[in-house]
Amino acid sequence: MLGLTKRDTILLLVVAALTLFAPFILNPFPEGSAMAQFNAGYPDLMQRFVIFGIFAVGFNILFGLTGYLSFGHAAFLGVGSYSAVWMFKLLSMNVLPAIILAVIVSGLFAVIIGYVSLRRSGIYFSILTLAFAQMSFALAYSVLTPITNGETGLQVYTDDPQYLMGPDSPTVTNLFGLEMRATYTLDLGPWSFDFNAGYYMCALIMLIAVYLSIRIFRSPFGLMLKAVKSNQQRMNFTGLNTRPYTLAAFVISGMYAGLAGGLMASMDPLAGAERMQWTASGEVVLMTILGGAGTLIGPILGAGFIKYFENIFSKINDTVLHQWFAFMPDGLEDFMVFLVHPFIGKGWHLTLGILFMLVVIFLPGGLVEGGQRIAAWVRGRKSAKADTATSKTEPAE
């Protein structure tokens, strides 16, 4: 279907089903129950899942295929957001022109940064991208204030021109009148499910983004990118010019990041410089690695995983912990709360850092590799003969 193999089609359909039914899947616990804190089916959180999914899928096209580790991809995210908000300020609150401009501007930006940075490889490339991103961040904060509104961040004001704004155009972000914040809540007994317009628009765009990424992975172009990662010397001595290949991958992944930035602004018409900081670039690296760099599904898994646990962990506090460990004797309960306390609430970053280290140390292939290992282990127990060879040669994507 759509020029994909059966396996890839199934993969795409699974992703489609998961995103389509996400409001159900992410809200498995009845409202008001003790487990409701593990629900994640809120519109803004679900939007973040898919938007960061797009960001990570795009990053994976560069890092996963070519092995070029960019530490500056947040710059494109920020550029996308700024462009989108400018469209809201100049035209109207319709998200379509905003998203289109976000992709175009971040693409152009990526051409410039990529052209310069890709003249070096390895750690030099990482540091060049880092330097560019930090420079963009510093500029957005200071000199470019007329464009970025400095520390306050760019937002839409009532006295903005908004040339395409009709008398009864919506004043919130919308797609030809469909408001992004519009939410239909379905109450089924004690359960409650939110269906949000903005989420479904982002989800649809993510599916297209994933589809395109699968096509790229399976194309001759994708093969060349993998070849760049594997052996540049052989590339050159096979009559292939690696520079345009890597630049194309860089620009494509920059455009994905810009798209994500544009969508972020479309859900909430704000853009701030902190979106460009290198810690934000680090986050997308983390998502990709955690899920499994170079695999099709990994980045989405990683983005979902990090955003989900960020939300859950940040919400848990000591009161909740005391409830959990209430079955223990008093002293032990306090001790357990004391032990767990540093990792929850504001300590989420600590948990994330540890998790990240563990993944890089023990599971360089990320969650996807973990799944494969478990699958191989189960199969191995059945057939008593673990065929590690096959699990290596067929990266299950």
Partner: protein, 251 residues
């Protein structure tokens, strides 16, 4: 008719004269071996031919065109393929994918933005790659990762990859270095077969005299960066100057 003309090439690294006034002419459709003791400048010369190094002076003409100042990929597209001392292949890719890449490079040139076509739809490339795998006797290994091949198979794959570009000149840099006897003999047989079946010129740098004398039609002896003699294998064998340069240093 010579396909490769090297004239008056000099190359210095700091105080070291790596190549001194090298003249070399390789005739079309022959096997030309370049031998010489360690440090004679063989690899430097090879690197000058493929664009990895640029000589300080002199000219390198391939088929009437200068290769100097061109990037390695451009020189390759002119029709020169190179086999490395340690096989340079795409270790993370399968054998079949390895073989497809040069086929794409031959068909589409140095860069082609075909990001939305599927590899499976590229029938011509698939057939070409499979045919070459069959020629190399590797069809049963097509789904293996190239990195997991044996040394001999890696070499075979690399030669196959170079051949599938249909180069006019194949450069081999010590193709049997570090190989067991059996693998060496297999490689000699493979190269003989290539020489017999294809319209191709082969230039080979080699240490192993067994390999050189089984394959070469002309031999150039390089010593201290300068060609000593150039002759047929028979004449080279008994040449006193060669014995002196060679045995004097390496024996």
């Amino acid at each position: 008719m010579s396909i490769l003309e090297v004239k008056g090439v000099n190359k210095r690294f700091g105080g070291l004269q790596a190549l001194g006034d090298v003249n070399l002419s390789v005739a079309e459709n022959t096997v030309h071996a370049i031998i010489g003791p360690n440090g004679a400048g063989k690899s430097t010369l090879l690197n000058c031919l493929v664009g990895k190094l640029i000589p300080d002076t002199g000219s390198v003409m391939f088929d009437g065109q200068s290769v100097l100042g061109r990037a390695p990929y451009e020189i390759n597209q002119m029709g020169i393929s190179r086999v490395f001392q340690t096989p340079e292949i795409f270790g993370d890719l399968t054998v079949m994918e390895n073989m497809m890449i040069p086929c794409f490079a031959k068909r589409d040139g140095a860069f082609e933005m075909n990001a939305l076509t599927s590899i499976r739809s590229q029938r011509d490339v698939l057939e070409q790659a499979e045919a070459m795998l069959a020629d190399m006797n590797m069809i049963d290994k097509r789904e293996m990762l190239a990195a997991s091949l044996s040394r001999g198979d890696k070499r075979r794959l690399e030669i196959g990859m170079c051949l599938s570009q249909q180069p006019r000149l194949l450069l081999l840099d010590e193709p049997t270095a570090g190989m067991a006897r059996a693998d060496t003999n297999n490689t000699i047989d493979l190269l003989k077969q290539i020489k017999d079946e294809r319209d191709i010129t082969i230039a080979i740098i080699e240490h192993d005299m067994h390999v050189v004398f089984s394959l070469a039609e002309r031999i150039t002896v390089l010593a201290q960066g300068t060609p000593l003699v150039e002759d047929t294998p028979e004449n080279i064998k008994g040449h006193p100057k060669v014995r002196e340069a060679y045995l004097g240093e390496s024996a």
